[in-house]
């Protein structure tokens, strides 16, 4: 049971980092990423291949994976050069994600296609006995999640953080104020991409085996659910959001006891249906997620201490 909790916590950690990446792109910066699963798989594959083919150590591989995903993300963000409508960007990310999935599935010489990559090394894998390894990975994941949240909080409070939110709220106003919106968007998407790459690396370390089926569109559904449940734009919210999704998924295992007639495939599709329905219900009834009040308090205190008065509901971030 303890072991189960440790493994689940580890999964929640790297899911939360993934969700944090999406949250930075979408929640803070207003750039929807419907190709998330593809970028995530790119992170995992880049990390695994840097170790297996290029002989990098785990640290360099993870950093390399972050850099690669960030670079591709920056490139994709460039298509918003002329069009700043989110609609078009979402469609492009969808296509890029699909393309990445196809590459991992078809380039056998590199990715071994549907067979997947096995035997992925882990950080400190040689130094620690296998039976204790779960603690090490948990510690690494927790540390990285803490680091991620700290960095994102620092960004959120920095001048760049204000540009990020300004671009989300109204890019025309941001441009009018002399902010270079395209450059901001490239950086937003690249930073989110780096986090997605980090999450992908942890995914590779955790499973030690990756194949294209692990990165289906289900990843997108879970990550969006985590961000929406946690509250868009809230860096702490994504942790609770990721935990909430995990509880929901693990809880849905009991559906099998409840309705014995379901087979595994039906159960899998039922889970996605539940996630999808939950996503839409949250969007309709809880658009600010479960952590809305918490986030508002923090925002209000900061605003209050600066301007000397509380601003009430006016400070609520709009969706």
């Amino acid at each position: 049971m303890i072991s189960f909790l440790i493994l689940m916590t580890t999964v929640v950690c790297f899911s939360a980092i993934l969700a944090a990446g999406l949250n930075f792109q979408w929640g803070s910066g207003g750039m929807v990423n419907f190709g998330l699963a593809g970028f995530y798989s790119l992170g995992a594959y880049a990390c695994a291949l840097l170790m297996l083919k290029a002989g990098a150590n785990t640290f360099i591989a993870a950093v390399g994976a972050m850099a690669i995903v960030a670079a591709l993300s920056a490139l994709v963000a460039l298509v918003t050069m002329r069009v700043t409508e989110e609609d078009y960007f979402a469609i492009v990310t969808l296509g890029v994600g699909e393309m990445l999935r196809l590459v991992s599935l078809n380039e056998d010489w590199l990715t071994k296609g549907a067979l997947g990559l096995a035997g992925i090394p882990r950080p400190f894998g040689d130094a620690v006995a296998p039976e204790h390894y779960q603690y090490v990975l948990l510690a690494i994941s927790l540390a990285l999640l803490a680091g991620t949240v700290c960095v994102l909080q620092l960004i959120a409070r920095s001048p760049f953080g204000r540009i990020v939110r300004a671009v989300r709220e109204d890019d025309v106003v941001a441009a009018t104020l002399g902010k270079y919106v395209l450059w901001a968007r490239v950086r937003i998407f690249a930073i989110g991409g780096a986090l997605i790459g980090l999450a992908g690396s942890l995914h590779a370390f955790y499973y030690q085996y990756i194949d294209p089926t692990q990165f289906s569109y289900i990843v997108i559904a879970y990550a969006f659910m985590a961000v929406i449940a946690g509250g868009r734009g809230s860096n702490f919210g994504v942790i609770w959001g990721a935990a909430f999704v995990m509880v929901l998924l693990e809880g849905s295992r009991f559906l099998k006891d409840l309705i014995p007639a379901l087979d595994a495939a039906q159960l899998a599709s039922l889970r996605i249906i539940i996630i999808g329905v939950g996503l839409i219900l949250l969007l309709i009834y809880r658009p600010h997620g479960f952590l809305r009040e918490h986030r508002l308090e923090i925002d209000l205190e900061r605003e209050g201490s600066r301007s000397g008065e509380r601003q009430g509901q006016a400070a609520a971030p709009s969706l």
Partner: protein, 287 residues
């Protein structure tokens, strides 16, 4: 070989044209790209499967009944999912439509599993014109698409509801000021989109296979076609679809067929950078 590829591309194009038209109509009236169209095509095709293969109705009857029925389903889905979110902006609606797409695809998977299925109808030998081979599914796809396109043209240009739809697409506030009721227009648009998606679902399922991801596999091509033609422009969607279809098939002569989807993606990126309004869209005006 070249002629055959060109022909296959045209057939792919007319098949993309119907959902692209649905996307562009929905976008015109509701102002957000509906990512659920893939899942909708899938569910509609399985409805036809239920009537045709399971209840034994002839395919044409089953398809016609499903198309009308699915028009109603689309209205209901819009009412439940998108109506409460109407005022929340495009991003929220887009994410909700993505969620709806996941739900629909998996409802199909829940009831019918992941295995590919096919409708019950008589198979026929392929025809042959010179050295271009055309099987009956392709002929049916061309014919049905042509009829649907003609009907859409008539509907949009010659009927009051078509005029109302175009008015709302053009300028919602002005349309409202002229007394055009937008809830009614939204219902009609959804119904028409549902019919188009159902017909497209049947054609795709006949041409390829009836399986849960059949709709979402077309999503990128469909959106690329709609954007290429200019989101909101019905004629543009049709021409965009033909271009995307032909270009994708021709690309298989040079690159691996697995990466066919790269073509709509590249077209999409180029269009967005060089001509954001699409071929037939209105010039892009900032607020």
């Amino acid at each position: 070989m070249f002629g055959q590829t060109l022909f296959n591309g045209a057939v792919t194009g007319v098949m993309i044209a119907l959902p692209a038209l649905a996307v562009t109509l929905l976008f015109g009236v509701l102002k957000f790209p509906n990512f659920a169209v893939g899942g909708m095509m899938t569910v509609a095709a399985y409805m036809v499967f239920a009537l045709n293969a399971q209840l034994g109705w002839p395919l044409v009857v089953a398809a016609a009944a499903s198309a009308v029925l699915f028009g109603g389903v689309t209205i209901a889905l819009d009412h439940v999912t998108f109506r409460p979110l109407r005022e929340r902006g495009g991003i929220t609606l887009m994410v909700a439509s993505l969620g709806l797409g996941f739900i629909l695809e998996n409802v199909a998977r829940f009831f019918y599993g992941s295995a590919a299925r096919s409708f019950t109808y008589e198979l026929a030998r392929p025809f042959r014109f010179f050295d271009v081979r055309m099987n009956r599914e392709q002929a049916i796809a061309m014919l049905v698409s042509a009829i649907a396109m003609g009907a859409m043209y008539f509907l949009l240009k010659r009927t009051p509801i078509g005029r109302a739809m175009r008015a709302v697409t053009d300028n919602p506030l002005l349309a409202l000021a002229r007394g055009i009721e937008s809830p009614h227009v939204i219902r009609c648009t959804n119904f028409i989109a549902g019919v188009l998606l159902a017909v497209a679902g049947v054609l795709v399922a006949m041409d390829r296979a009836l399986e849960p991801p059949m709709g979402s596999n077309y999503l990128v091509s469909v959106f690329a076609a709609a954007v290429l033609g200019g989101l909101g422009s019905p004629l543009g969607a049709f021409i965009g679809a033909i271009i995307i279809g032909v270009a994708s098939e021709l690309s298989t002569l040079a690159i691996s067929p697995n990466y066919r989807i790269g073509v709509p993606l590249v077209v999409l990126a180029l269009i967005l950078v060089f001509r954001p309004q699409g071929l037939f869209g209105q010039p892009y005006i900032r607020r």
